[in-house]
């Protein structure tokens, strides 16, 4: 691979990037590129290497091998100014108000703006401005800053803190957004609103790299990259990754009895509503395993989550 840039116009790029900690390889020869206007979902179990990869993209950690490029060069301090980052822990100062948090971040990024209200968006770049909702307030991140301007961030509900963190990451109109589990623990409407903000940023030309543990959110991403044991094990749209895989579906009067029978036969099953889903075994095999347990066995297309397990579990064991 050497020094050949893989993808022309990529905002961020990893070429055969590895990172070792002593004898442990956390990231193993990963290729990844994020282009303008693209939302890329980075999926993987804990320990798969996602956070290590993000730290290298941010320039917080050097690669052991391979090349990391941010806006065509190394992840230098000036390059990092074009980047907006929302870490898992949100990275806010609990003892400051939302407005003070934003003003501080703006000063760090050298945008020199006291962004008391989040500031107007300019130049077609994704900004922190929201759209009006029915209540006349704003559903976007800046609305949170206006609404809760005088309270300390540490006293605010988690959903509001997330909106403030988004506002802080967006206020300097970054070309690239890196979001580490941005929607963990918020209600579905608040989650939808955060995805609206992400999509608006992408529509305005920003590239987005986002990690999530909600596999249903993966549909929001134009492209998915699945990691396991430090390596990329699948890449493509959700439909491409799921492919034509199928699982067996068991409807039993007593799912507990069915679960016991399947487990005894060594077939791991997952509970979905009142049905059991069995990946990796055809209906005939499942029916044999169920034996005398009264049940109806059918087949269904595998979900992304089921395909995810298939891809990542062999690596984990």
């Amino acid at each position: 691979m050497g020094g050949q840039p893989g993808v022309p116009g990529a905002l961020a790029e990893c070429v055969a990037v590895s990172r070792r900690f002593g004898g442990f390889t956390a990231v193993d020869r990963v290729d990844l590129a994020i282009g303008p206007g693209e939302v890329v979902g980075l999926l993987g179990a804990n320990g798969a290497g996602k956070t290590t990869l993000i730290r290298m993209l941010l320039g917080l950690l050097p690669a052991s091998a391979g090349q990391v490029r941010l806006f065509g060069g190394p992840p230098s301090r000036p390059a990092r100014r074009r980047l907006g980052y929302v870490p898992q822990g949100l990275g806010l100062y609990d003892d400051l108000t939302p407005a003070e948090n934003l003003a501080f971040t703006a000063a760090v990024f050298g945008t020199g703006r006291a962004a008391a209200g989040g500031g107007p968006s300019a130049g077609g770049r994704p900004g922190a401005d929201g759209r009006p909702s029915a209540d006349g307030a704003e559903v976007g991140p800046a609305g949170a800053v206006r609404e809760y301007g005088r309270e300390l961030v540490g006293d605010l509900p988690l959903g509001v803190q997330r909106r403030v963190a988004f506002a802080a990451a967006l206020q300097h109109h970054p070309d690239l957004l890196i979001l580490d589990e941005p929607t963990s623990g918020v209600d579905p409407l608040a989650r939808a609103r955060l995805w609206e903000t992400i999509a608006a940023a992408a529509a305005a030309g920003a590239g987005v790299l986002v990690t999530t543990h909600y596999l249903d959110e993966a549909e929001e991403c134009g492209r998915l990259v699945i990691m396991a044991d430090g390596r990329v094990v699948a890449e493509g749209s959700a439909a491409e990754i799921t492919g034509g895989r199928r699982v067996s579906v068991v409807e039993a009067g007593s799912w507990a009895a069915a679960l016991d029978a399947l487990e005894a036969a060594g077939l791991p099953a997952a509970l979905a509503g009142r049905t059991l889903r069995v990946p990796g075994a055809g209906p005939a095999e499942v029916a044999r395993a169920l034996g005398a347990v009264p049940a109806r066995v059918s087949e269904a297309p595998a979900t992304l989550e089921e395909r995810f397990f298939e891809l990542t579990l062999p690596a984990a064991q």
Partner: protein, 320 residues
């Protein structure tokens, strides 16, 4: 499956039939057909954290409590777990030793190993050593934690810690198992392990109450309570909650018009638009639990905005 439909808020439940295929275990034999709350309210100072919430969890079933941050989930589960006395209303729960409660915060001792955590729990509940050893081994194997038994709990990953917490809570075969957000922030693989443990506990006869912010998990539950801002937004089976959704939903690939915007949200790369009056233009969408819950929260937000005099819009036909 357990017999009979779940009972919606406020009804009386006959004993016996509610227990279904699996009779209550532990000290619950002869107890009520359900555990839960009746019109429970909790005040923190001037703030009403829970407002007259009625909730029933039945033996052999998984019941889910869903809602966003600040909805009151933890407060309700603390009442069920015995960690908090309500300001008013009744909590029906088994004696303390028959309740397994995993709080949202910790539930385990970081300075003890995995095995020591479980041994300590077993000793505290006077579980016979042989039973404790057998159950510990079985649950650790189910959760994929066998190889970690001698590691310090404080050194485990978030997912492993949560699995240990759930195992500790269910080790003593409690009649009521109360799990506060065991899967929040946990990766999908550990999430599947956790649900395997949860399904096992219900299959063994416990009434399991799980708080979660994942609606796909709530779809697996036999009974769901949706909380928003401390009060009940919806209750029933997932199917009942979906069927009770007011109005109609349509799906659009293009962004909504300005008029539709307050009634629209994004999901899976497309737009959902809610029409409270039910006279939707365009192809109607088949809503699922996540859609129904989102509509509930949105309807409340719109109503609250109007009540606060902030409204820029008049209610649509059919909107309450």
């Amino acid at each position: 499956m357990t017999g009979g439909p779940p009972v919606d808020g406020g009804g009386t439940v006959g004993s016996g039939g509610a227990a279904g295929d699996w009779p209550p275990v532990g000290g619950a034999a002869g107890g009520p057909g359900w555990w839960g709350t009746e019109r429970v309210s909790v005040r923190y100072g001037r703030r009403l954290a829970l407002d007259q919430v009625t909730f029933q969890a039945r033996p052999g079933q998984v019941s889910a409590v869903v809602g966003g941050d600040g909805a009151g989930r933890s407060t309700l589960l603390r009442c069920l777990g015995g960690a908090l006395a309500p300001s008013s209303g009744t909590v029906r729960r088994p004696p303390r030793r028959d309740v397994g409660y995993l709080p949202a915060s910790s539930g385990i001792y970081p300075d003890l190993t995995v095995a020591e955590n479980l041994a300590f729990r077993a000793a505290a509940y006077q579980l016979p050593a042989a039973v404790a050893a057998e159950r510990s081994a079985a649950f650790l194997a189910r959760a994929g934690l066998t190889a970690a038994r001698d590691r310090l709990a404080g050194r485990l990953s978030g997912g492993m810690r949560q699995k240990l917490g759930v195992i500790a809570a269910m080790l003593t075969s409690p009649a009521l198992l109360v799990l506060d957000e065991p899967t929040t922030g946990v990766d999908p693989v550990s999430r599947a392990d956790l649900w395997s443990l949860i399904a096992r506990a219900a299959a063994d006869g416990a009434a399991v109450v799980v708080a979660t912010s994942y609606l796909d998990e709530a779809e697996r539950a036999a009974h769901v309570l949706v909380l928003d801002a401390g009060s009940q937004l919806a209750v029933g089976t997932p199917d009942q909650i979906v069927a009770a959704m007011p109005g109609q939903l349509r799906v659009s690939d293009t962004p909504p018009s300005d008029a539709d915007r307050p009634y629209a949200w994004r999901r899976a790369g497309r737009w959902r638009i809610w029409d409270p009056g039910g006279a939707a233009v365009g192809p109607p969408a088949q809503p699922d639990l996540q859609d129904a819950v989102t509509v509930g929260i949105l309807g409340r937000e719109l109503a609250a905005a109007r009540a606060g005099g902030l409204a820029g819009t008049a209610p649509r036909a059919g909107e309450r």
